[in-house]
Amino acid sequence: MTLSARFRIARGAFVLEVDLELPGEGVTALFGPSGCGKTTLLRAIAGLESCHCGRLKVGHQVWQERGHCLPTHRRAVGYVFQEANLFPHLSVRGNLEYGWKRAPAAERRISFDQVVVLLGLEPLLERRIRGLSGGERQRVAIARALLASPRLLLMDEPLAALDEASRESLLESLERLRGTLAIPMLYVTHSQREVGRLADHLVLMEAGRIRASGPVEELLTRTDLPLARAADAEAVIEAEVAGRDERYHLLRLRFGGGEFLVPEAGRRVEGRVRLRILARDVALALERPRATSVLNVFPAVVESLASVNDAQVVVRLAVEGGGHVLSRITRRSADALGIAPGLRLFAQVKSVALMG
């Protein structure tokens, strides 16, 4: 199943003009500056914009095309709006049950109680919407969308109003949902962190157009795109669990000719795992550093580099065995090391984070 969309929507001076082919599984992040048209695109996919605006196919089903238009209520999308948009005349429970009751029992893939627990809504169930805090509203909105048992989940900055801890736990839940429910998600976010954390596929928007679209690993490290040059620039790579330090709860991960030690953070994992490596956590050296242990060091080849600001550059490195990482270093170091495409060197990683 893939999602193929082609829209042209004009709103005054703003024009959204996209032609997209998205994978029909996993999480696709929509990323772009404020006002670039992310919400408009999501609305068009949900059928909330005029149907004359384009063509949309989800799997083998045509959702809209000239002359044909599946109305929103038959698209079975779960939509988490940018502003929570809850029903003020219903209690929290009433809001949650709204879509739940309307979804055919056969299509339900998750139980009411599961969702309530997942989003920590038990104490709020009988509350009215008016007294809820911003974060609580957002959680109710996410739960409501999940409970409608959608075939496609559209989420517009669902975590923006949440604190770090809730966001973290929700991200984990969403990651788990992605695995168990196999609902494809389109996920709008302003946070590069969430992109790296959650997304498989990334769509980069700018001023109503698609700037780039592709697998997250690829796009995050392309130095011609703004992501690699952001303060939070990071790479996502795959590594293999090579061992475990039971005493200190550390994992030994093998990757690209090197080995990392990574805090286990309470989860037992086996086989292949995904890791996030921040560009600023990667230092470069021409020789394998001798003073430190071999840990967290691996050989790499410079692929490209780009300037971040006056003082810093970001370097894209190809890693042995596939994958890319980024390194942000001062221009001075880059000059000192003579960084140029093709140069072989060693990357030292200060810290990595385990995903999913």
């Binding site: 109305p71 209520h73 038959r74 709006f81 003020p88 219903l90 879509g99 309307r102 969308a145």
Partner: protein
């Protein structure tokens, strides 16, 4: 104090007001919805036409209705041609007249309520698989509660007090088309002031209790579901 005729009139009145209010809500709701959302150029025309019956004195409106419903009138002719009973001097005729005359009191508050509704809630409801009618019932109606109450109260009360139209096309037949307002009027005209006072007082009390109940229930409801 109250004669049998008065009681019959009370009964006719309540039946008329209830049926009229019901029909008005049924007709007025889609009309008001259309008025609140349509962008058609002729919407203002329809809006003006809906309010128009108001500016005619009810008796005069009744007079024209009488002509319209008569055997030579457009509507009456049609009805009799189709084999129906003539409508003048029947309860059905009263209902038609009352509906026409009270229509704006029902349509306009509903339109006000609908047009202040947050559309995004309807969008939310559509993404939650609710088809249009379901959306209307589960989102629009509860959120426009206050508009519906206003519409029903104005429609009902106005039909109870309504007089000229009913008098004209009803023919004041006791037990059939004589309503309470006419009965009170008759008492006043006949200088039977005591009966008029009693009847008017009773009507006021009854209506007051009815209205009070509506508003109390509404208030309780709104405390529970604000």
């Amino acid at each position: 104090m109250l004669s049998g005729a008065d009681l019959a009139a009370l009964q006719v009145t309540l039946r008329l007001a209830l049926i009229t209010t019901l029909i008005l809500l049924l007709l007025g709701t889609p009309l008001a919805w259309w008025l609140a959302r349509s962008r058609a150029w002729f919407r203002p025309v329809v809006e003006a036409v809906v309010a128009l019956p108001l500016v005619l004195p009810p008796t005069v409106l009744g007079f024209y209705l009488l002509i319209l419903l008569g055997p030579e009138g457009a509507l009456g002719g049609l009805v009799t041609a189709l084999g129906g009973r003539p409508l003048a001097f029947t309860f059905s005729g009263l209902v038609i007249g009352s509906v026409l005359y009270s229509l704006p009191f029902v349509v306009q508050p509903l339109q006000t309520a609908f047009s202040t509704l947050d559309r995004r809630l309807l969008e939310a409801s559509a993404t939650l698989r609710a088809p249009p009618f379901d959306r209307f019932v589960s989102v629009v109606v509860p959120l426009s509660r206050s508009g519906f109450i206003t519409a029903a109260v104005l429609g009902f009360a106005h039909t109870v007090g309504e007089f000229g139209v009913v008098l004209m096309i009803g023919g004041n037949i006791p037990g059939e088309t004589q309503v309470l307002s006419i009965a009170i009027y008759d008492h006043v005209e006949a200088l039977e002031y005591t009966s008029a006072h009693w009847l008017a007082g009773g009507l006021l009390l009854l209506s007051f209790l009815l209205l009070l109940t509506v508003y109390l229930v509404n208030r309780r409801w709104s405390v529970a579901h604000p």
